[in-house]
């Protein structure tokens, strides 16, 4: 069965329980953070932080409002990261999660560049020690503790290892308010639409990138909340469109070159 996760931001209180549950289940290292004036903490996703609640202040009718948006991998139906991965380390499982096999990943970061949701991160901790060069930073002992592999791409895997046991992802399990839910994708989308209609809000993830296995209910337009505007096209269409255009410009270029050659060649001979 294909599952999906529902993130109903209208029910989120910003407790960050999901962040903690994610770190604990996945044995991810803590982040060293600094006071930045922002409330989002840690400030962004990293190779060791797979979900983060973005804290945003918005004003509505002259009144300040907090907007909490839990962010993580969207688990695309047709993931660009898997399509571009040269070592076939990323796959979309039938249950919905998009999973990176960190024993196959070569650390080229093509997936990081290809993710339209900017949700894949390169985990560079301790790579120097891995190759016996000490350049400072993390101690050798930390390499395999705290989240396993280093020098590879990492991200939320929707706790596929919990789903396999019939359990919900760690963040869903821990969420106190029901802001994160889990279930059959079709039902989740239905739920999202009903809820969005009730709060006069927006659904995000139903169509983006051809559909994703994470679906949001938002009470403000996605771009106002800082979520990326992503084409509803599947990645295979995105690529096919580009190939056609590249070929088109190639043909135009060839015609121009041919014309230039045709019109300059005789003149050169006349000159002789």
């Amino acid at each position: 069965m294909a599952y999906a996760m529902l993130v109903d931001t209208t029910k989120c209180t910003g407790c960050r329980g999901c962040q903690v549950a994610c770190k604990r289940w996945n044995e991810l290292s803590p982040e060293k953070t600094t006071l930045s004036g922002e409330w989002t903490n840690p400030p962004d996703l990293t190779g060791q932080t797979w979900t983060v609640v973005f804290f945003k202040e918005m004003s509505k009718g002259g009144e300040m409002q907090w907007k909490f948006t839990k962010w993580q991998c969207m688990h695309c139906e047709e993931p660009p990261c898997a399509s571009v991965c040269p070592s076939l380390a990323i796959s979309k499982t039938p249950e919905g999660p998009v999973v990176i096999d960190t024993t196959r990943c070569i650390g080229c970061k093509y997936c990081v560049e290809a993710c339209p949701f900017d949700a894949v991160r390169f985990d560079s901790r301790g790579t120097q020690e891995l190759y016996g060069v000490k350049l400072g930073g993390i101690k050798a002992g930390d390499i395999e503790s705290g989240g396993g592999s280093v020098g590879v791409a990492r991200k939320c895997h929707m706790c596929y290892n919990r789903i396999a046991q019939g359990r919900k992802p760690a963040c869903v399990e821990t969420c106190l308010t029901g802001a994160i839910q889990f279930g059959d994708r079709a039902e989740i989308i239905q739920k999202a639409k009903t809820r969005a209609a009730a709060v006069n809000g927006y659904v995000y993830g139903e169509k983006e990138a051809g559909g994703t296995s994470v679906v949001y209910v938002l009470d403000a337009p996605p771009q106002e909340l800082g979520l990326p505007a992503v084409t509803p096209k599947r990645y295979s269409e995105v690529k096919a469109d580009m190939y056609k255009s590249i070929g088109g410009f190639g043909i135009i270029g060839a015609i121009i070159l041919g014309l230039v050659y045709y019109f300059t060649k005789p003149k050169a001979e006349e000159a002789k």
């Binding site: 660009p80 399509s83 991965c85 040269p86 076939l88 080229c108 791409a153 690529k239 270029g253």
Partner: protein, 277 residues
């Protein structure tokens, strides 16, 4: 957003372009007039795989787990996999071509067959470095069909002048070097036209603004447009007009060639950075 594809990838895209351009130019020149361009063609062929291998070295060091690089050959739907195959075959064809020119005596047919295949692979190398990033709609600045063609033209111009630098201190090759210098005029004009069309049509307006008057403007306007394109164009035009009276000092040509190389590198670095920030 963090920059994961930075200097090392820019260096690689540039060096692979130089190698591909040098090989293509060498093969085309040798087909036009084998005797006249013998030295040019040989220099181009030897240079092509050497710089490409250096570029591959940069790519290799970029990997988080270089010891697993062999699995980069796995996914034929990925442009890194396709590129890895193209590069491998191109370097192979380059080394073979070099051997046929020097140590190994083979029939003319075999030499030109390898050079033909090598030429096709060189073209594929040049265009793939652009396709690699242009298939990523996640980076709106890169999602442009003009990037692959821009990189092809840039590969040709940087490849040709790289060979030109090798021939500069050989007085008997002066005529060929002058030809290289002259060839740069149309290439630079085409490059400027493609860059203008790219900036005008690409979807990422804020990245374009960043290149033209934002944090990357010094790099883009100074490094790419001025040093990489306008200065060499001016020097070449000057050389062509002055050459009618008396030979131009080789340092003028050298300066132009070096500027083209700097511009080719900075172009790739600026496009990579602007796409990611």
């Amino acid at each position: 957003m963090s920059v994961e594809w930075g200097l090392d990838i820019a260096a690689y895209l540039f060096l692979a372009g130089v190698g591909a351009g040098a090989y293509l130019a060498a093969v085309v020149a040798s087909r036009t007039n084998r005797k006249k361009y013998a030295a040019f063609s040989a220099a181009g062929i030897h240079l092509s795989w050497v710089v490409t291998i250096i570029g591959i070295g940069a790519l290799f060091l970029h990997l988080g787990r270089p010891e697993r690089f062999i699995s980069a050959y796995s996914n034929l739907g990925s442009w890194i996999t396709l590129g890895t195959w193209i590069l491998t075959l191109f370097v192979g064809a380059g080394i073979l071509s070099s051997l046929f020119l020097t140590k190994v005596k083979v029939s003319e047919g075999a030499t030109s067959a390898v050079q033909f295949i090598g030429g096709v692979l060189a073209f594929l190398t040049a265009i793939y470095t652009g396709i690699l990033i242009s298939v990523l709609n996640a980076k709106p600045l890169w999602y442009s069909p003009l990037i692959p063609w821009l990189f092809v033209v840039s590969a040709l111009s940087t490849g040709v002048v790289a060979v030109g630098i090798l021939l500069l201190n050989r007085p008997e090759q002066r005529e060929v070097v002058n030809k290289i210098d002259r060839l740069d005029i149309p290439l630079v004009i085409v490059e400027i036209a493609i860059i203008a069309a790219f900036l005008a049509t690409v979807g990422a307006r804020d990245a374009v603004a960043n290149l033209i008057y934002g944090s990357l403007s010094a790099m883009f306007l100074g490094g790419v447009l001025l040093i990489g394109l306008l200065v060499p164009l001016g020097l070449s035009v000057y050389a062509v007009s002055a050459e009618r009276k008396k030979p131009v000092s080789p340092s003028v040509l050298t300066l132009g060639f070096v500027c083209v190389l700097i511009g080719g590198f900075v172009l790739r670095y600026a496009v990579l950075l602007a796409g990611q920030i």
